[in-house]
């Protein structure tokens, strides 16, 4: 998905674990490029040995379309994680995809129905917010992502390093789903989609009103409206919208839904109603929003019926199937309209007509002239620039990596993110590797003796405050231990070296040496009341472990030289004493 929308597939190596995020297909290609290039993972050797797990964010084919190819044809036997609704719906879309490719286009060497089934057996379903322990170190956790039924963001965590992968998400609740949410988990890296990196969409209500107005006008003048959609997701939202509008306006023009999936799809929504938004969840006992009165199943023959109608047809990008068939039939009439409610990948018919192309070359060199009106209305539930920024604010990542978007738009968003959050932002192309440095915290064992000794110093330890400790870090046999210096020396068989500082301080004092010493002693005793200051019989003074001796200057008897000597450990007191003595002695009264 690097600087591109389609075939989402990201390999994350985190603290020695390898996790593959999504396994999608590309709708713009029909050759080898439609699937990710798994040779990036490993050139030789089995994928199962190399990957610790695979995570699928949601059921759209650009996120899971290559899964059976990956697991059954390339070969992967490890765990695949996805949410319950994704696990339920994913195989149906895969089967649909397989049918179109193999049965309609007659391709061979594609995955089979059995492979889809075998692949789904490797899937482990996860709950929202459940912490799944993949192995002892690797854990993953799913967050609600909006976007489509069952879409999830995943946090991948090993020790204290973590990555959040958003999949596709939506930060504003729509008519059937809630908004994405994540806690302040401060991941080292946030991998975010960026489909609408530069768009800041106007309010949803305006777009809805616009959509209804256009549909209404076309129907009023007897035209036909084609709305290419994917069977699950946007389709349900638009159905709810049209259904309520038809009811309110008392309209009679028929609305059809083109695929046999509809009823089944709506059933999934009914059974997984806990994944929809609050309003639908609250009222489902009284009235199920997914039981439509005005929307009926479509039959191929209906396309030639006279008079107005609205048809939802799959797939959403006009690249194959029924939506393309209907489009070809209706394209010649300027009374008709096609409304593209979502993003179209480059290379699809949808993308071509949206970029203004009006003469299309179809299969067999046929030229199709498009006279019908073409409208684009952004209903696809991706976060816009504002939403992406909002998510970054919520999660507070240390680095951001953009995927699933177009390079130019990413560039713009990247600058904005770097400016506003002062974090590094990356946007690697397909096949490119980005390395992110983390500051891992490393656990260290502390010896009990040292702990007790250090705890005894200073105020009583407070569980809620950090405490500074001194000790020796011992790195041995791949383990880290904090021990007392004596023990470290003993264990390593080293002799202790003592570092002593000695400093000379000159003092003007004409008296005899022992008298000077006495004066110094009295002075220090007066100033350093809390320390043990001693005058030793050999004529030297000790302050704690610091030694002070006085000798007369060899040339000038009026100047006495004080030798101050202390060990490295007493550096603080030693340097204090020196500076104290340098100030000289007070004028003695004696």
């Amino acid at each position: 998905a690097g600087q591109d929308v389609g075939r989402s597939c990201i390999l994350v190596s985190i603290a020695g674990k390898n996790v593959m995020l999504d396994c999608g297909m590309h709708m713009g290609y029909n050759d080898d490029r439609r699937f990710p290039d798994f040779s990036y993972i490993t050139q030789n050797g089995r994928l199962t040995d190399f990957l610790d797990c695979v995570i699928i964010s949601h059921f759209h084919l650009d996120h899971c379309g290559a899964l059976p190819y990956f697991s059954e044809m390339v070969g992967y036997d490890g765990p695949i994680y996805m949410t319950h609704p994704t696990k339920a719906i994913c195989p149906i879309l895969l089967e649909d995809y397989r049918k179109i490719t193999v049965d309609k286009k007659g391709e061979t060497n594609f995955f089979t129905s059995q492979m889809i089934k075998d692949c789904m057996k490797k899937v482990v379903a996860v709950h929202l917010h459940q912490t799944v322990q993949v192995d002892e170190e690797l854990e993953i956790k799913a967050y609600y992502a909006g976007h489509v039924l069952g879409a999830a963001m995943f946090q991948i965590k090993v020790g204290c390093e973590s990555v959040v992968y958003t999949g596709d998400y939506n930060m504003t609740p729509d008519r059937h789903l809630g908004a994405a949410w994540i806690d302040k988990c401060r991941p080292d890296l946030l991998i975010s989609e960026s489909t609408y990196a530069t768009t800041i969409r106007d309010s949803k209500r305006c777009r809805e009103r616009d959509f209804l107005k256009k549909v209404h006008e076309t129907v009023e003048r007897g035209g036909k409206v084609l709305i290419p959609v994917f069977a699950l997701g946007r389709a349900q939202e638009l159905c709810i919208l049209l259904e309520t509008f038809w009811e309110r306006m008392n309209l009679k023009a028929p609305i059809y839904f083109s695929t046999g999936l509809t009823e089944k799809a709506n059933h999934y929504y009914k059974l997984f109603i806990t994944w929809t938004n609050q309003k639908i969840r609250k009222t489902f006992v009284q009235r199920n929003m997914f039981e439509f009165k005005h929307i009926k199943a479509f039959d191929r023959a209906f396309a030639d019926n006279p008079g107005p109608m609205v048809v939802f047809a799959t797939p959403g990008m006009l690249h194959a199937g029924q939506s393309l068939q209907i489009f070809r039939k209706w394209a010649g009439n300027e009374k008709n309209m096609v409304i593209m409610p979502g993003y179209c990948v480059q290379g699809t018919v949808g993308h071509k007509i949206l970029s203004g192309q009006r003469k299309l070359e179809m299969e067999g060199r046929q030229i199709l002239e498009v006279k019908m009106q073409v409208e684009y209305m952004s209903f696809s539930a991706h976060a816009d620039a504002k939403g992406i920024m909002q998510l970054i604010r919520q999660a507070e990542p240390r680095n951001v990596l953009l995927v699933h978007g177009e390079a130019k738009k990413m560039e713009f968003l990247k600058q904005k993110i770097e400016q506003e959050f002062h974090v590094n932002c990356y946007m690697p192309a397909n096949g490119e590797t980005t390395t992110i440095l983390t500051n891992p915290s490393i656990p260290v064992d502390i010896s009990l003796g040292l702990l007790k000794r250090e705890a005894a110093i200073g105020p009583v330890p407070d569980a809620k405050k950090p405490k500074l400790m001194h000790g020796t870090l011992l790195m041995k046999d791949n383990s880290f231990r904090l021990v007392s210096p004596e023990q470290a020396l003993k264990e390593l068989g080293l002799a202790e070296h003592q570092l002593r500082f000695t400093c000379r301080v000159h003092i003007q004092d004409p008296r005899k040496e022992h008298e000077t010493v006495l004066r110094v002693y009295n002075h220090l005793k007066g100033v350093l009341k809390d320390y043990s200051v001693q005058h030793l019989p050999d004529g030297s003074i000790t302050v704690e472990s610091i030694l002070i001796q006085a000798t007369a200057h060899s040339e000038d008897q009026g100047t006495k030289v004080l030798l101050v000597s202390w060990t490295y450990q007493d550096e603080e007191l030693g340097s204090y004493l020196t500076s104290l003595l340098k100030k000289g002695l007070p004028q003695s009264t004696a």
Partner: protein, 465 residues
């Protein structure tokens, strides 16, 4: 580590744990056996109940005859039923930081705690627990509030007076602490303090303690809790089941290596094998209906009823009962049946697989579609038009003191053709039946309790050690 036990009921616990300077309340069960001391609340005025004689003291004084009534040698309080709350004197409940709920039966005292003790913390529970818990509370409030009772007896609670009363009233403890049912606004306020959690979700409490709910296999969304600091692990095992019914199986592996294991909510009827009881339930039901009698099943609106309906779904055709109507009467009957179908993620593997097809996980959807099972909010309205006998009625409350069950007891009690089948184990069926004596109706006791028994516990302990 300190633990305080605030509830004397074995399966409706309420404990407080002090651990690493956090105060955690484990469950919030409401002991409803106190209601057995009260007269039933009939929805329609019952001539029999209103004619019961007042109770007279041995010395002939009659000052209590307004409050206490006598029925077949038992004395009952003629008042709004009251519940025995968890102990609130033992420690200051406003210091409780969090409440962890293990299943929807163990949260019924929540409004009393969150609304009246100065509690300011958070409650943690799974989504099914909250949704079904709300239904149970709604049903409770509804069935008590719709029969307003003028009288609220208090004289008998006087210590001097209570001493003179016959058992079991004489022996009831802390009667002065018994409370009337809460109201819907209180329920809503209490439930708004709940934060939803999923199985195996790690929740940090003040950075000192981490709590995690695990599947306990007993009911939809039921959970055991792991409470751990960096070096200590406490497991709270409450209301768990190793049998495969509809909920997700119990997660045992995560309980391993616990320093302390708090075990509560074991079955109180270890000798009653649930499978055997279900069989007995079906055969008794079939026999009664074949003889032209009606069957009354006093039950909660959620839980075992799902399993009973599933058994009946498989059983009715082979037993030739296809024409017998099944009625489920509760203000939350519809919600309960609908909710059960949407918690796919919390169900056992078999039911999950059905959802993937997609089909409703519970067969009662089909029973409703084919009109074999009908549900009504109460005996008023549509039900009285559709009502056909012989039939099977599922309704609450299992204590037989309030709810629509009171009506059916009065209606069917006089005929020996009819049968009442007790399936909920929380109340002694003899005590429950006492204010209806003398009774001609057949009584069958088939308690279905899937919670752990002693043999299973010792096996479990060995495994998690």
């Amino acid at each position: 580590l300190f633990q305080y036990c605030l509830s004397g009921h074995p399966t409706l616990p309420c404990n407080v744990l002090k651990f690493k300077s956090t105060t955690i309340m484990l469950d919030c069960g409401l002991d409803m056996t106190s209601t057995l001391n009260f007269l039933p609340l009939p929805l329609v005025q019952s001539p029999r109940l209103s004619k019961l004689p007042g109770w007279v003291l041995k010395d002939g004084s009659t000052f209590l005859d307004k409050e206490l009534k006598e029925c077949s040698g038992h004395v009952f309080v003629d008042s709004v039923p009251e519940f025995c709350l968890p102990e609130t004197e033992l420690l200051d409940l406003s210091t409780v930081d969090v409440i962890l709920i293990s299943n929807y039966h163990c949260m019924m005292a929540l409004p009393y705690i969150t609304e009246y003790t100065g509690f300011t913390g958070t409650v943690y529970a799974t989504e099914p627990t909250v949704q079904i818990g709300r239904l149970l509370m709604e049903e409770l409030v509804n069935s008590i509030e719709r029969v307003p009772k003028a009288q609220s007896a208090s004289m008998w609670k006087n210590k001097e007076v209570q001493r003179l009363l016959p058992a079991p009233l004489k022996d009831a403890v802390e009667v002065s602490m018994w409370r009337k049912c809460y109201t819907m606004p209180e329920v809503n306020a209490a439930l708004s303090k709940i934060q939803l959690v999923g199985y195996s979700q790690k929740i940090e409490l003040f950075g000192a303690v981490q709590v995690t709910p695990l599947s306990s296999g007993y009911a939809l969304g039921s959970s055991n809790w792991i409470i751990q600091s960096h070096y200590e692990k406490v497991s709270y095992v409450s209301g768990s089941s190793l049998l495969t019914t509809h909920p997700q199986p119990m997660d045992q592996a995560a309980l391993k290596n616990s320093d302390v294991l708090i075990l509560t909510g074991l079955t109180q009827i270890p000798t009653a094998n649930p499978d055997g009881m279900v069989g007995e339930f079906c055969s008794n039901l079939a026999m009664t209906v074949r003889n032209g009698g009606n069957v009354l099943v006093p039950c909660y609106p959620s839980g075992v009823i799902y399993d009973l309906l599933e058994c009946l779904y498989q059983y009715i055709d082979s037993a030739g009962l296809s024409n017998i109507p099944f009625y489920f009467i509760s203000p939350v009957a519809n919600s309960s049946l609908e909710f059960s179908q949407i918690f796919a993620e919390w169900l056992c593997h078999n039911k999950q697989t059905k959802v993937y097809l997609p089909e409703p996980p519970f067969p009662h959807a089909e029973l409703i579609q084919t009109n074999k099972l009908k549900h009504y909010p109460s005996i008023h309205g549509d039900f009285s038009n559709d009502f056909k006998q012989p039939c099977v009625v599922f309704t609450g409350h299992p204590s037989l003191r309030f709810g629509d069950v009171v009506h059916f007891m009065e209606l069917w009690g006089k005929s020996s053709l009819n049968t009442v089948i007790f399936t909920e184990p929380d109340f002694s069926y003899l005590d429950a039946l006492a204010p209806y004596q003398p009774l001609a109706m057949k009584c069958v006791y088939c308690p279905i309790d899937t919670r752990l028994n002693f043999i299973q516990v010792s096996k479990l302990l060995k495994e998690v050690q």
